[in-house]
Symmetry: C2
Subunit: 620 residues, 2 copies
């Protein structure tokens, strides 16, 4: 056994709970569901928790059961199959006796792979003949599925119970249908039915907790993982997935191009609490040994079936890249930078015909709707540098993606659209506006955009700037970029840095759009900062461990965490400390207003000086 | 001698040159000046260097003589006094026989400080009686000073010589007076005369290379350094300054609040190639042992004189915080978070009168114009959290700053205005618009703004998002934020991370505004990326060392730096490699167009397949 075949281990997978946090499960009202969230305990007098349960801040939690110490997990058996009953209860699926894909079967019956295969594989589900099992199909019939109620509750983070105590700046959402107070199951259904939102949940990935991608919901982020020809084991990939979701990845794309792609994916899926996306053409290309021109519809289709039956929830498919677009890229500075796009461009040139992704698009729709796998329509011609931004090739492809979106919708296949890329700030908005128009408000899912090309090593930041802005303008999901972008393969710390960076960008977008409740956590953290509740400040952070680590580098002693100052200014200069004095004084001024007028301002001043000026009433 | 008294050492200060770079000195046409820039050699056939000097990319360089191995430096003697002759030639200054400040003299004649004093101190210069020596004063008389010609040449980065080969997207500059092609000395003079730009250059800091801060020039960044009561030596502070300018700090603020502030500042100034700013109230407060209420105009004024005669180029002065603003902060979530602001608020309350900064403002102007020290009018009431953004207190103070700007201009004192803070994305633009209006287009200098409060440990990123946006909207200088913000004191790596992050944000703003030539480096780096010129890609980066380090983590072998693929995708999947094939094919298609029509598309396809499909003509 070589190192790349090392399997996941329940003992070593990250299961550290978050400090001062507990996992809670909020019950549904329409369905028998329990929606997982994380509750952070704080010492905040200003917060009255829901149901009188004390001072807590509830936050959206993508980490699944891993962060709940009360749940026993065995990676060899996979996560609990949360949605299995919901799916079966609908009565529109059947369990197959065997895999339908030729390649899947080859792998399953190859005893050489026994030692690295996930053992407890269930037989795949598929829609019964003539049935369409997509959430879009249900929504258009007026049905509120358990999945829809789940995401409604999940999106609210219990803000509906807390709203009256909540201050938030009104947002600016550029004509979006932003909900006014909180998310209802009906709203979720209607947004899905209008195709403005996608609820990616393959019937073969019942382990995933439902989540939603749409302009009128919280902005989501995706993290890419995947082995390559050069590095990584199955164990590492599963841990990367767990690690990425711990820090906030809402979906994970498995972009493996190395060995044992099929088996690696199985391990990831059975242990993933978030929907998994893939780019099937990568695996198809492996099957023809990297020779793009040898790809065929049959090989590709078998790959789709293989992955549908494993439980992938969305496929990036570069069907919008048409033959006549290819010459448009010849004058570009960086040509075609999408891997999938360049593979298909090469195929188109070799065969001098439209790609099989384009010509077989409706056949793909027929397939996907049997598993509720969504389209992530790939932008094979996204710009790879500022100079190529918003060019003829890019927007030509976008228009084709809009036509394909209509076709996908004809089949009630859930669809979102991928976007750029490298774009200077002032040209970002045009991307959003064109996408909304060309694709009928189908959700936009962007990579970056990176707002400059001159900062390799910092491209998580160049792209977070563009991501926050395009999220504000209406993008539904942001694909993370790590500091290693353009330079190398991300390691564990790069994944964390990338995920947290994009989580903060997504959150900044939620705030700017005025998503209901988005500012709640900011307010709570700011109050903690002002009241020198250091532990609360750490615990409310997106990355509490890093916050503690940074604080301790300057002031490592535990009593510094209750100090009414910090290392930046020291005790004498603390502006927040002085602010408390100002506040106390202003209060007394208010109370004594009548008196003050009578006795004169001079006297008040003397009084303050006599009281020591250093007066710090609260807890000192 | 304790550790904090450790002095700088010429042997240990960072002097590593940048790879494949050389320092060049572009001569002036009006004046006998030589403008320092950095020239990066690249193997780029598309670039024809100026004067036929080969393939080079010239970049703006803030690192001073430290990165020029041909210049001998001795930190005990300080940098060459570049501007001394220019200043003396104007004939409007006199050299004083002694320092004018009481405190300055005390320090100078205290033999206990001999061991840590910078030895080679020159006697200070001051305007001759009745003279005004500010660049604004000269500009308003129509004079183009050597400093003005210097910044004109510096801003251009020789783009005026390269322009014809240059593609750049037209920008969007929100009504700014963005120059169309390149910067002329006349343009610099006119922008200073119109007070839209500030050229900070104290007559007592002749070592500094002139630079300009204004909406119609490249966006600048400032890095804060300074010791505190807890940590750091003189040696560390000088090295931090050199280190910050190496990575791109255009100015440095010395915010020391610890021991030996006066002597530390002297060492920094004598060795700094960039203008130095301070917040004089910090040192004044040290003089009254931290008791804000004991501050007086006399102590403050003596501190101003002390620092003017050392060579500080701009002072943050929180003169806009008025007594009636203070109660407006009482209901805030985080009160007053500016240190200077909170000190003055406390003073105002203790004395129940307007602050001496406000009441003695014109006296301060009279002083500053004798040294050409500029105002950085401080925003003592900037919001410390999203919830407090754009409130009555903040905008009330801004209006006062606008009034003070008019007063400063009456005295021809160069002035810029400090801005927030913590502001959600959709509320940033209002800050810029109000500032332009209230302050008559005086340059804006902002901290952040941070676009969310929930990411301590990542606040260089939350603020870089806001900084890039407000820079685009018209802010002239961005104050850096490090990853340690809110948590601890930045170390060397934090300073680098903060500086590079803000450099990329500033550059993103330049691109969006359409600053002439801004996109040149992006294009050059992108071409290098597409042509697999790895070394050029690294060398053209803002942080070449990090780019190399990241690349080498995955592919450490030196032959990987000439490979026509990278670790992300491996050789089979390289989209850029395939793009080259597409390009070659498109070229042949174009050439044979007539033929192709005749022989049919099928034939072309066969031809491509027969040619091996893997064809990669360039250099392979």
């Amino acid at each position: 056994m070589d190192n790349t075949e090392k399997l996941p281990n329940s003992e070593t997978i990250t299961r550290t709970p978050f400090a001062s946090s507990r996992k809670i499960y909020v019950p549904g009202k329409l369905h028998d569901i329990k929606v997982a969230m994380r509750e952070i305990s704080v010492e905040d007098a200003a917060i009255k928790g829901p149901g009188g349960c004390g001072s807590v801040v509830t936050v959206y939690d993508t980490s699944g059961p891993y962060s709940d110490p009360d749940v026993e997990l065995d990676v060899r058996k996979g996560l609990p199959r949360l949605r299995e009953k919901w799916i079966m209860d609908r009565g529109d699926v059947e369990q197959l006796n065997d895999l339908s894909s030729i390649f899947g079967k080859e792998r399953l019956y190859n005893s050489d792979l026994d030692h690295l295969r996930f053992q407890d594989v269930k037989k795949p589900l598929r829609a019964r003949a003539g049935k369409n099992v997509t959430q879009l199909h249900y929504a258009r019939q007026g049905i509120i599925t358990p999945e829809m109620e789940y995401v409604a509750i999940r999106e609210n983070q219990r803000i509906d119970e807390l709203r009256e105590e909540m201050f938030q700046h009104p947002g600016q959402s550029f004509g979006a249908n932003t909900p006014m107070t909180h998310i209802t199951p009906e709203f979720v259904r209607d947004e899905i039915a209008s195709r403005r939102a996608v609820l990616p949940c393959s019937i073969n990935h019942p382990e995933a907790e439902p989540m939603i991608i749409g302009r009128n919901f919280l902005v989501k982020i995706n993290a890419n993982i995947g082995n390559s020809a050069i590095t990584s084991s199955i164990e590492e990939e599963v841990e990367k997935m767990v690690w990425a979701t711990r820090w906030g990845a809402d979906t994970v794309m498995d972009l493996s191009t190395g060995k044992n792609i099929h088996e690696t994916r199985e391990w990831i899926l059975r242990n993933s609490p978030v929907p998994i996306g893939t780019v099937p053409i990568y695996q198809a290309l492996e099957k023809v040994d990297g020779r793009a021109e040898e790809l065929t519809w049959e090989i590709f289709k078998d790959t789709l079936i293989e992955q549908c039956e494993q439980g992938v929830s969305y496929f990036t498919i570069h069907a919008g890249l048409r033959l006549h677009h290819v010459p448009m890229t010849a004058k570009r500075t960086t040509g075609i930078v999408s891997r999938g796009g360049s593979i298909m461009a090469k195929w188109c040139l070799a065969h001098h015909t439209e790609s099989f992704l384009y010509t077989h698009f409706e056949e793909t729709c027929e397939l996907l709707k049997q598993y509720d796998v969504g389209f992530s329509l790939g932008d094979g011609l996204r710009p790879g540098c500022l100079q190529d931004a918003n060019d003829e090739a890019q927007f030509g492809e976008l228009d084709t993606l809009g036509q394909l979106t209509q076709l996908a919708w004809k089949h009630d296949v859930q669809t979102f659209i991928e976007g750029p890329g490298h774009v200077p700030m002032h040209m970002i908005k045009e991307n959003m506006e064109r996408q909304l128009k060309a694709c009928g408000e189908a959700p936009f899912y962007t990579l970056g955009p990176l707002v400059t090309d001159i900062a390799p090593g910092y491209d998580h930041i160049t792209s977070a700037i563009g991501a926050a802005m395009i999220g504000w303008y209406g993008t539904a999901m942001l694909c993370y970029v790590t500091p290693k972008e353009h330079l190398g393969l991300p390691d564990r710390e790069d994944v964390r840095e990338g995920v947290v960076t994009f989580k903060l960008a997504a959150h900044a977008a939620d705030l700017a759009k005025g998503h209901p409740g988005a500012q709640y956590r900011d307010n709570a953290l700011s109050r903690a900062r002002f009241e020198f509740r250091w532990q609360d400040q750490f615990n409310l952070s997106l990355d509490p461990e890093k916050a503690v680590e940074f604080h301790d580098k300057t002031l490592p002693h535990s009593n510094a965490k209750v100090a009414h100052f910090c290392s930046m200014c020291g005790p004498k200069f603390c502006s927040m400390k002085i602010s408390h004095e100002v506040r106390d004084y202003a209060k007394s001024l208010e109370a004594d207003k009548q008196d003050a007028v009578a006795t004169g301002m001079k006297e008040k001043a003397d009084e303050f000086i006599q009281s020591g000026c250093q007066l710090y009433k609260q807890g000192a």
